[in-house]
């Protein structure tokens, strides 16, 4: 073996030695589990008797014989398609009002971000449950305003609304990313457009939004994926039942119930794969359409 070959072999071995924990972990906790999950999705399996091959049976049941599954898809899509845009609009709004030169901005940033940092905890879900209880603060506020109090736990739509408000309340991380993006927009652009007589609304649509569009895309994708996976609030708020009338039965919760309450491991695996494909398609659509609405400065050509 020549010296050069020997050296490159050694370099390769060193490289692989350093990343070997990742490779082992990737195989053990991601790749092999994915193959197992794919196999299980074509079987019925309850953990105690060997998996039984049923071909496309799980998928057939999912699409034709399980209204609860369709309901969980509907609830999840409503949660994602309503919650994510609301959360991002609110995040952008707050980022814009915080994008000023004021000594207080750091404090405000902290205050607005705090809900997001505690948001994943059981404590916050418990609190949310109680804020919206029949005689909780939200209902007393509604009656003070002269509106009729809502039975948040009696009506599936109301309980989903409650979950969505919780997700919007945790807008902090998107807000910080927007804020970083806003700081990168050159002030000269706004000044120049002021000279041209542009009004604030015009500036927002002609300068802010286009220059922020790559960050909007990033936030949109990250938030969509994590919203699809929401589990803890639905689990805690509905005490693990997904009620009332499956109104908070998010996909992750239904999958959890199928797998670990009813021991339908194969069915749950099939559900996970369909969800993975749906998220993949949605992400692909976002990427493809982004060509028409995401503006990259390098393409400006002026």
């Amino acid at each position: 073996m020549s010296l050069r070959n020997h050296q490159s072999l050694k370099a390769n071995m060193t490289g692989y030695a350093f990343i070997s924990p990742f490779i082992v972990g990737f195989l053990a906790f991601t790749l092999i589990p994915m193959f197992i999950s794919l196999y299980l999705s074509f079987t019925t399996y309850n953990l105690f008797t060997p998996p039984k091959w049923i071909g496309l049976g799980n998928f057939e049941k999912m699409f034709t014989g399980d209204p609860k599954y369709w309901n969980s898809i509907r609830v999840t899509f409503t949660y994602v398609l309503v919650g994510v845009p609301l959360r991002l609009i609110f995040a952008l709004f707050v980022a814009m009002i915080l994008n000023t030169k004021s000594r207080m901005v750091g404090t405000y940033r902290t205050m607005y971000y705090l809900p997001s940092i505690i948001g994943g905890s059981v404590a916050v879900s418990i609190m949310w449950r109680n804020i919206f209880s029949n005689n909780g603060i939200v209902n007393s506020l509604l009656s003070t305003l002269g509106a009729t109090p809502v039975k948040w736990f009696g009506d599936p739509d109301a309980s989903l609304t409650m979950l969505i408000t919780l997700s919007v309340w945790q807008f902090g991380s998107s807000m910080l990313i927007f804020l970083a993006g806003l700081k990168n927009i050159p002030v000269e652009l706004y000044e120049a457009s002021s000279v041209d007589g542009a009004k604030p609304v015009r500036k927002f649509f002609s300068i802010t939004l286009p220059l922020l569009s790559p960050i909007i895309l990033f936030n949109l994708i990250m938030q969509t994926i994590s919203a699809f996976m929401t589990f803890v609030p639905a689990y805690v708020i509905s005490k693990g039942e997904g009620g009332p009338m499956d109104g908070t039965m998010l996909h992750s919760l239904y999958l959890f119930r199928q797998a670990f309450m009813f021991s339908n491991m194969g069915y749950a695996a099939a559900m996970a794969w369909v969800m993975l494909i749906m998220i993949g398609i949605l992400t692909a659509i976002l990427f493809i359409t982004s060509r028409y609405w995401v503006f990259y400065e390098t393409e400006k050509g002026c």
Binding site: P21, A28, T30, S37, V94, M104, M111, V122, G136
Partner: protein
Amino acid sequence: MAWKTVKWPIYHILVAALALLMLYPVFWMLFSSFKESRTIFVTASSLFPTEWIWQNYVTGWKGTTGYNFGTYILNSLTIVVISTIGAVLSSSLIAFGFARLKFKGRNLWFALMMVTLMLPGDVVLVPQYIIFTKLGWINTILPLVVPSFFGMPFFIFLMVQFIRTIPGELDEAATIDGCGKFRLYFRIILPLLKSSLATAAIFSFYWKWEDLLGPVLYLNSPEKYTVSIALKMFLDSESASNWGGMFAMSILSLLPVIAVFFAFQKQIVEGMSTSGLKG
């Protein structure tokens, strides 16, 4: 002219008011933890308790499953500490490999890592559970800590980005001085990586402390429960209208989270604006 002088006060009043509105639920929970259980909902609209009841913290501490919160806090801390050490060490090692070493297939593995970063966890939930069951790891903390020792994609990515900003001349100088790759990692890069390591440690702490699904799946005897499960048990025990105790322990469970947030806010907020994963 008049608008110029009132503009800033109005701005601050509105922004601060909105901020307080955002934080109101947290304050509501805090003050409810000092109200008498029976009065929490009757007086839901008034923030402050008429009488401050410290007793809630005593009754809440006892928990609902025969073990007190001391046990749960200890259990949570054990999991958090072990998995954070594992995640930070392994991720920095892997990140060094990706950022500083040239080897065949590096780009492929890096791409796989980035895909893993975006992969929804539900796909591997069932098979992982089956694997851990077969290994006999149920009702131990192993499923909750062992995977951390194989690197967390988010932290690896964060550290790779950071290591790339460290000048390569340092490596060359160290190599000329006869420093091997491992020494280079351990003696030169790791100390420079301090702020990234801290960011990763903080986020690891948050995720593990707040994790509910993992403990629910893998821990089934009450003496092994974490704080998250213990809080959830309050809701399950139908008999208990011990709202005060539940709020008290909710506040207690948030204290470390909030303390870490205020101690490291600059680091957290910056780590967030440049990466954007949490929440």
